[in-house]
Subunit: 241 residues, 2 copies
DNA sequence: AGTGAACGTGTAGCTTATACACAATTTAAA
DNA sequence: TTTAAATTGTGTATAAGCTACACGTTCACT
């Protein structure tokens, strides 16, 4: 055939019904941070082929639903949260990636504050898994997870997105520990602090940590004003170099 | 419905044929470099809705075809080239993005040496357009082009991919002009040269430019050995900072 | 009162990025 | 054959950013 896209859908239907024997899905890699570990929200697969394997949260895209709406819907259904950070990463379309048939999936990752959805978690077969303890997942979901983690790693040094994983007020130790979990490295404490103060991403809220068995650190919140509205892009660009 | 992905395709077909009333396509942003300008290969749309508008090169994904195979096929059909640089960028899935029906498209960009496919070009309605002279395209293709260009811009400083746009031997002026075209900026000549020599991406082939109306510059080729095989990833990582 | 644990702070050395000018080579035109 | 136009090839000084590194302070716990 020539260029199928130049025909109408009606023509295609009569030409070859096979075009429609495929489905499109979204899969969400939902990251959380708890207990000094980066975690991801998974569900037990109930497909026979992957009995007892864990898988990412996903669903088919509805015929009248935008692609990004589908991923927001999955998030909302599973965590009860909307207004979360969500970013598209990659589309996986190997013919045999899904045992039930041709399913092409678009992968997204999301950053949420793990404390915000304790309630909805109880009603599900969902569990948080430490990212670096996951060696296999159902389908090609391990590959999807790895791809999303890499994307996250490359974003956090230049874009202020990790704050979506933290409570509103946090200490510099928590922030550094989060960066270390995502990158899988250790960072120098003094240089880390200096860098963040210079970047002006933080606001001192004049409070101290509570209930820590050592000298409490100061608490900060994310300086969201610097990244709001029209200024957002300019400010981000300015920090790229 | 619950999680449609947990059902089989057979179940889905009986549930709701609407799931299959959509199609998946690929669209390729094929970049070339000629006459000191970054260009993109476009085709006249023959859809009535976009009469006389230009559009990217794309096609539907076949039911038994991997997603990346589909984009390679489009490239091969349109340029006669295989073994080209091709990278997935983003999937566009708004319900009404295509007037003929629900078509979700995955965008890719490709870098080719514009001289390599003169022949196949003659048999088509294809034309090279300077990227910065394009203000509208059919469908949402302008948005797709912009997204791919941004991706290209953010890649070229850390990954040695622009050489796909150049002939085997090139002068430093050509290389700098290419970077300037992609970034839309002017660069300092001395610093540009110093940076490239330090990066060790180039090999001096001990030849001079021919037929230039001024003092000829030395010719170089890309030091591909440094990025081949298993070493590839390590070397690239080492240059990220 | 003493111990353990993490907090808060500054500097020196190194690497990287930027700004910037002039003599040499080739072609083309007078 | 001289001259003008265009572009090549080259180095240094300054600024900015990254890295490595140590010690006194504060709080909880016993």
């Amino acid at each position: 055939m020539g260029n199928a896209l130049q025909k109408t859908i009606q023509q295609l239907k009569s030409d070859n019904r096979e075009f429609f024997h495929m489905a499109l899905s979204v899969d969400c890699v939902i990251f959380g941070f708890d207990d000094n570990e980066l975690k991801v929200l998974l569900i037990k697969s109930d497909l026979e082929e992957f009995h007892d394997e864990w898988s990412l949260l996903g669903d088919l895209v509805m015929p009248n639903e935008n692609l990004d709406s589908a991923s927001y819907r999955v998030l909302k259904d599973r965590t009860g949260l909307d207004d979360v950070f969500l970013e598209q990463v990659y589309t996986f379309g190997d013919v045999n990636r899904h045992p039930a048939g041709r399913v092409i999936t678009t992968a997204w990752y999301s950053l949420i504050n793990i404390k915000d959805h304790q309630l909805s978690l109880a009603h599900n077969e969902l569990h948080w898994h430490p990212v670096n303890e996951i060696s296999t997942l159902a389908f090609d979901h391990k590959k999807i997870l790895d791809t999303c983690l890499k994307q996250l790693q490359s974003k956090i040094d230049e874009h202020p997105i990790v704050f979506n994983l933290l409570p509103e007020k946090f200490s510099l130790r928590e922030l550094q520990s989060l960066y270390e979990s995502i990158h899988g490295t250790k960072l120098d404490r003094r240089n880390f602090r200096k860098k963040f103060f210079l970047m002006d991403w933080l606001i001192d809220v004049n409070e101290l940590e509570q209930d820590v068995p050592h000298r409490p650190g100061k608490l900060y919140r994310f300086n969201a004003d610097r990244f709001s509205d029209g200024k957002k892009e300019n400010v981000q660009e300015a920090q790229l170099h």
